[in-house]
């Protein structure tokens, strides 16, 4: 029989990245029963998803991606943390025109 997992400290926050389209912080308060990390067994659930059809290595970009778009790219400089949390408001944007219903381009 598997021993019960050690109790989590109060205020514990999951350190893992989750998401399908983009990485964001996991909001769960415990890894127990988590479908993303499967009880804490998967270290990076976002990168290791297998349901992205033809997009293998979804999270990987070769250096030329950066060189093309970032003239002063220095591979040695790590990026600032960019994961989103629930604090990133959804009301930053407003939907606008009616592209979806415009059939002139289809």
């Amino acid at each position: 029989m598997t021993p019960p997992p050690p109790p989590l400290p109060p205020g514990w926050k999951c350190p893992r990245r989750v998401g399908f389209l983009f990485p964001h912080a996991c909001l769960r308060t415990t890894p127990v029963g988590c479908p993303d990390c499967q009880n804490g067994m998967i270290e990076d659930p976002y990168a290791l998803r297998t349901d992205r059809y033809g997009y293998s290595r979804y999270d990987y970009y070769a250096d030329n991606y950066f060189l093309d778009l970032m003239p002063y790219y220095d591979p040695g400089v790590p990026a600032a943390p960019v994961d989103f949390t629930e604090a990133d408001g959804a009301d930053l944007v407003t939907p606008g025109d009616d592209f979806e219903t415009d059939m002139s381009q289809s």
Binding site: V18, L21, F22, Y73, V77, A79, A80, E86, S106
Partner: protein, 285 residues
């Protein structure tokens, strides 16, 4: 939230703004209702046929003509009763499967308590795009129309407002062939249109990424990208599924399209973060 069955029966429409879990439960419920209605309609159709055939046989025997009348009447009643199970909903059960695939995709990147607006039309009206003669055919006519049957709008964790619509683009041709028979040929394509209103604070200006995005989008065979439009505030993409296939195929095409767009959005966010890091280290901006 419980499904508004009266509206579903009368208008063939499911429209709701609820958290993703509720939407999935609703679509499950509608799908099982649609499957039940489909079964009931089929049963009544079969029994009507059987009763009418036996009724004709009774008429032909002469002596049982009265039984023939009863069987005809019973068949007519079953046919009438069939109308209580809406054909449009019963025949488009797969639209629920598609809707559930979309909610499953969004569930991974939205707040579970945040409401998502969804509209699934089972009996959507046809909007004529063009109509005219079909050249080279006797009595040839061609009509192009679209049927907008799905839309969804959701606020994602990153502050992006995502919206998607699915339209069936139908070409209906009718003509008389050389043997004098009337023929109708219908071809349906699906137009997948997506819009991402992204926060430029996180992603920067996506305008220079247009060529890269067109390269990166991968779609299943039979689906092609028709348009990519990028402004400093929003990304709009359109794809055309020329093999009008199953709900699963359409869901795959939709997911792959969204993944392609987000692969470049994620790259842009990474670049913005690196720029900030370089600026912080006193490097060039």
């Amino acid at each position: 939230m419980a499904v508004d069955e009266n509206r579903l029966r009368a208008e063939g429409l499911y429209e709701c703004r609820e958290p993703v879990g509720n939407l999935t439960a609703d679509l499950d419920q509608i799908q099982s209702m649609a499957a039940g209605w489909h079964h009931s309609r089929k049963q009544r159709g079969i029994w009507t046929t059987v009763l009418w055939i036996v009724g004709v046989i009774c008429f032909m025997t002469g002596a049982l003509w009265w039984l023939g009348i009863i069987l005809f009447a019973a068949g007519g009643w079953l046919l009438h009763d069939m109308k209580s199970y809406p054909k449009a909903v019963a025949n488009h059960e797969e639209r629920c499967t598609f809707g559930r695939s979309m909610t499953a995709m969004l569930a991974a990147d939205t707040d579970p308590t945040e409401p998502i607006a969804i509209r699934v039309a089972f009996d959507a009206k046809e909007e004529t795009i063009s109509e005219g003669a079909l050249l080279g055919r006797n009595n040839g006519k061609q009509r192009l129309y679209k049927v907008s049957w799905f839309s969804v709008q959701a606020n994602l964790h990153d502050g992006t407002t995502f919206s998607e619509t699915i339209d069936d683009l139908v070409r209906r041709r009718s003509f008389t062939n050389a043997r004098g028979k009337s023929k109708v040929k219908v071809r349906t394509n699906n137009v997948i249109a997506m819009r991402f209103d992204y926060p430029s604070e996180a992603y920067g200006d996506m305008t220079p990424f247009r060529p890269k995005m067109e390269q990166e989008i991968q779609l299943p065979p039979g689906t092609i990208v028709r348009a990519v439009e990028i402004s400093p505030k929003a990304i709009k993409v359109k794809a055309l599924a020329t093999q009008s296939g199953s709900a699963t195929y359409l869901a795959q095409a939709s997911s792959m399209l969204a993944l392609g767009v987000y692969r470049i959005l994620n790259l842009s966010r990474e670049i913005e973060a690196r720029k900030r890091a370089q600026a912080g280290q006193g490097g060039r901006p």
